[in-house]
């Protein structure tokens, strides 16, 4: 039990680290507002969350269909670039962190203790440049600058192929057409910035795939009309990482949604999605060290589900459901060329998860939000693992206030509190491992 817990914590830490360092703060793009003379609120319910008009603009390759679309009409002084940064103060707490009984003395043994840290912080700098290279050729490049520079997204898209909204082709590193955009999450704090379902893998699982929340490298075909959208992406099995992928496999992601108008309430949207992939279970090694890109013994996994976005005038809420499955070899971390290592009764782990996120948006300058998310294991990879191991509950509340919102810049003041309960995952006691975050600060975009 303890062994599994420690491995689970290690894996969770890895996933959290990947998620938090890979998921840059989301963005609004004042460069578009400058170009079109529109306020942030034209495209964003509350930036960075898109409204229906903004989604159509994005789907149409950052084109409104009026005479201000083409770069040829831009003034020479127009520079399609946006900067975003978030100076904050935040407090983090973990109620049962394993620490040395005597600080500084590793031989004193481990005990669980509540650990709290706090202070001022800066969430790096997002740079976004995006727009149209030419009529019906759009692009998006998003470097992220912190202690190092990384490229969160970089893609080019050929829009309206054969004069059809149904054919748009994208290539590069891009955010999958997620049911609810991770990149456009309204929350920024350490505990509540990510949708956990997007990154979940069960305890002891060795699936190399981190989650649909990460931008991925590949190609995407998408299409839309006023009410229907689809996208199909084929992506490298590399979690968006550049250089050699883990193996030669490609994964497939598909999303379909349908909107309909509810008079006096707003647009309602329902959709289904699925990610189907393979992950290596072992590598060729050289002196015991895995050779990059040589993953072998692929085994399958999938994430499927349904979602909705519901408007009740100034209220709106997301509902999201996911069912996940990983092959038994992935779930048990056993190379597929050594099936004898599988524990007795080993099977592919399955789980269900979901969240509800509600927003109250009385006017373009205010948004209040709340989210509750959970994951429940329905079948463990190893029957010896406690059935609840891996379950989690998390909730977040917060608000964003936009005192400055113009076609030139945006400034938001925000406060958030999040709490995450990893059920039975405390490293030593096996009790609930609870993390909490409080964050306040400015989010500005210009």
């Amino acid at each position: 039990m303890q062994k599994w817990s420690l491995r689970w914590i290690g894996l969770r830490c890895l996933i959290s680290a990947v998620a938090i360092t890979s998921i840059q703060s989301a963005y609004g793009i004042p460069a578009f507002a400058r170009k079109y003379g529109l306020p942030c609120s034209a495209c964003h319910e509350a930036w960075p969350m898109l409204n229906n008009f903004g989604q159509r603009f994005k789907d149409n390759g950052y084109q409104l269909g009026n005479d201000r679309d083409a770069p040829i009409y831009q003034e020479p002084s127009y520079w399609p670039i946006t900067f975003r940064t978030t100076p904050t103060w935040h407090r983090e707490n973990n109620n049962r962190q394993a620490v040395d009984a005597v600080p500084g003395n590793p031989s004193s043994g481990l005990v669980e203790a509540s650990v709290t840290t706090s202070g001022f912080d800066l969430n790096g700098l997002d740079v976004v440049t995006a727009g149209t290279l030419y009529n019906n050729i759009s692009f998006f490049v998003q470097p992220f600058i912190s202690s190092s520079i990384s490229v969160n997204q970089a893609w080019v898209r050929f829009d309206n192929l054969l004069h059809s909204h149904w054919l748009n082709f994208k290539m590069g590193k891009f955010e999958l057409d997620q049911p609810i955009s991770q990149e456009r999450s309204l929350t920024l704090n350490n505990t509540g910035a990510v949708y956990y379902n997007y990154f979940f893998t069960p305890p002891g699982d060795h699936n190399a795939f981190v989650g649909i929340g990460l931008p991925q490298l590949g190609v995407e075909l998408s299409g839309h009309n006023n009410t229907t959208r689809y996208s199909v992406a084929v992506v490298s099995d590399s979690n968006g990482g550049t250089g050699l992928p883990t193996n030669q496999a490609v994964d497939v992601y598909a999303n379909f949604n349908q909107s309909f108008e509810a008079p006096h309430l707003g647009w309602q949207q329902v959709g289904v999605y699925g990610f189907f992939g393979e992950s290596p279970t072992y590598f060729q090694t050289s002196g015991g060290t895995p050779v990059p890109g040589t993953g072998q013994g692929n085994r399958g996994f999938y994430r499927v589900g349904a979602y909705g976005h519901w408007y009740l005038q100034q209220f709106d809420f997301y509902t999201f459901f996911m069912h996940g499955f990983d092959d038994a070899f992935l779930g048990n971390g056993v190379p597929s060329n050594q099936p004898a290592l599988l524990p007795s009764g080993a099977t592919g782990p399955t789980w269900n998860g979901g969240f509800v996120e509600a927003h109250y948006n009385p006017n373009p300058r205010w948004i209040i939000l709340g989210r509750y998310e959970l994951v429940r294991m329905s079948r463990q990879a190893n029957p010896n693992i406690l059935s609840t191991n891996g379950n989690l509950d998390t909730w977040t509340v917060g608000y964003r206030w936009y005192p400055i919102m113009s076609p030139r810049a945006g400034l938001a003041w925000l406060q958030e509190y999040s709490r995450l309960n990893n059920i039975g995952a405390a490293p030593l006691s096996g009790k609930d491992d609870i993390h909490s975050s409080y964050l306040m600060g400015f989010d500005f975009d210009f």
């Binding site: 306020p39 609120s41 008079p263 076609p407």
Partner: protein, 259 residues
């Protein structure tokens, strides 16, 4: 002080609209100006301004300038020149957008929301409380477009002096083009018929026919309602349509006449 006056003025206008104003109705949908105001604040205010006078924060950067709703003068109408538009005219403009301007299509908004916006836009001018909209112009059935019809249209294009603004070849570079201004004195460019672009007030032949009858109020484009017969207007429509069909135009070898 001026600001206060404007705020009070706007509030009074809204009160009047509520007390005496025409109901805004499109089909079964009834507009709600209060809801429309919230939408206007979210989507429209930066161009059209808080008082609807077209002086929004982005207005200096836009060409053509945003519509001044306080004047109750609208380009795209189904009603005769100098009269108020129907609710459906304003609704269609919001839905369609105005091509070759900064005004995008707001079709992504709910139908009800667009009707609410119409209701609110009407509160910016007392004209909607004092006058009734004009009677919509009739659009007779369109005859087939033939080489003869196009040729007659080409002649009318010359004799009606369309070319003085739109140019002999319809490219928008007529001799008067450089001097044209809208009703607020802002420079305005005649439409380039060869561009194949969507027309400002709708892209069907019927829309073009209607524009010839109603004119585009607030611009130098006059009404040709009494200057031409219905058949003649259809001929002009066919000719204008041929200008963006370069192959057809070349094949027909239409020559400008009567210059």
């Amino acid at each position: 002080m001026a600001m206060k006056t404007k705020v009070v003025g706007t509030a009074l206008l809204m009160l009047c609209a509520a007390a005496f104003g025409q109901e805004t109705r499109i089909g079964k949908l009834v507009g709600n100006a209060k809801h429309g105001k919230a939408l206007y604040t979210r989507y429209c205010i930066f161009c059209h301004g808080p008082y609807g006078d077209g002086r929004g924060e982005s207005a200096p950067y836009l060409d053509p300038k945003p519509r001044d709703f306080t004047k109750a003068v609208f380009k795209c109408r189904s009603t005769p020149s100098g009269t108020l538009p129907l609710d459906i005219d304003l609704y269609n403009t919001i839905s369609r957008g105005v091509h070759a301007s900064g005004m995008p299509s707001w079709k992504p908004l709910l139908k009800q929301e667009r009707v609410d916006l119409v209701a609110y836009i009407k509160t910016f001018s007392t004209a909607f409380q004092e006058e009734k909209p004009g009677t919509p112009v009739e659009i007779p059935p369109e005859p087939p477009s033939t080489p003869e019809s196009i040729q007659r249209g080409a002649q009318l294009f010359q004799t009606m002096n369309c070319w003085s603004c739109h140019g002999k070849d319809g490219r928008g570079y007529g001799p008067s083009a450089a001097t044209l201004t809208d009703s607020k004195g802002n420079p305005i460019t005649p439409f380039d018929f060869t561009s194949g672009s969507t027309f400002k007030c709708g892209d069907t032949d019927s829309d073009m026919f209607r524009d010839l009858v109603t004119g585009l109020d607030g611009t130098p484009m006059p009404s040709f309602g009494s200057a031409m017969t219905a058949d003649q207007r259809w001929d002009v429509v066919h000719y204008i349509r041929s200008l963006s069909n370069h192959k057809l135009h070349a094949k027909l070898k239409i020559e400008p006449v009567g210059q």
